[in-house]
């Protein structure tokens, strides 16, 4: 069955450092992959979408890579800030249904 794996342990980093979050998937051939941010008690908010024919995508301090051979996406936040503290969800997708991984909680300390 399809499986999406994100590190369930929280990632703690110092303000100003680069945070790197990993998303691995199996039994999937997604046409694209999305990353969302979720704050406690709120709905997910879309951040970035990367297509299978794109290796890398950037938006301000965010960078996403997509390796369809490794079946992995990496999500980077450079110059991290305490306001970046949240849970980040990945969703490899191809059709209508968007299925999320468990998410990785990021904590950025001042």
């Amino acid at each position: 069955s399809q499986k999406i794996e994100q590190n369930s342990e929280a990632l703690n980093i110092q303000e100003g450092k680069t945070a790197t979050l990993t998303c691995n998937y199996t039994n999937y051939s997604p046409a694209y992959l999305q990353w969302y941010r979720q704050d406690p008690g709120r709905g997910p908010v879309f951040l970035l979408l990367i297509r299978e024919n794109e290796k890398e995508k950037r938006k301000e301090r965010l960078k996403v890579t997509f390796d369809t051979t490794l079946k992995q996406s990496l999500f980077h936040i450079t110059a991290s800030q305490p306001a970046d503290s949240a849970t980040y969800l990945c969703a490899p997708s191809g059709f209508q249904k968007l299925v999320f991984g468990t998410g990785t909680r990021l904590l950025v300390s001042p």
Binding site: Q34, F46, T102
Partner: protein, 117 residues
């Protein structure tokens, strides 16, 4: 910025009661979804809806659940006879037509917290 609105924000109900959660998707979106998140767990897909019918549903979405678009703006999730394990945050989402800008990207509402006692 267009948004998805959900009501109520919090509902407390007794086990066995019927509950209707309401959503107003973004006006020009054509795909609608319900997700749920049990406290401390992942966001789980329940159902997707397009062209006035269910396009896909998960195994969670059993006969106790139903969805409806009763008019041109609302999208509802009904739970016929609530169970304790239905306690969760329910999120509505919508997305644009395929091929349009922002297609495949979901915009979520703030959620409706359901507590079943």
């Amino acid at each position: 910025e267009p948004e998805v609105t959900q009501t109520p924000s919090h509902q407390v109900t007794q086990m066995g009661q019927e509950v209707i959660l309401r959503c107003v998707p973004i006006s020009n979106h054509l795909y609608f979804y319900w997700y749920r998140q049990i406290l401390g767990q992942k966001v789980e897909f329940l159902v997707s809806f397009y062209n006035n019918e269910i396009s896909e549903k998960s195994e969670i979405f059993d006969d106790q659940f139903s969805v409806e678009r009763p008019d041109g703006s609302n999208f509802t999730l009904k739970i016929r006879s609530t169970k304790l394990e239905d306690s969760a945050m329910y999120f509505c989402a919508s997305s644009a037509e395929r091929g349009s800008p922002g297609a495949n990207v979901l915009t979520f509402g703030a959620g409706s917290r359901l507590t079943v006692l």
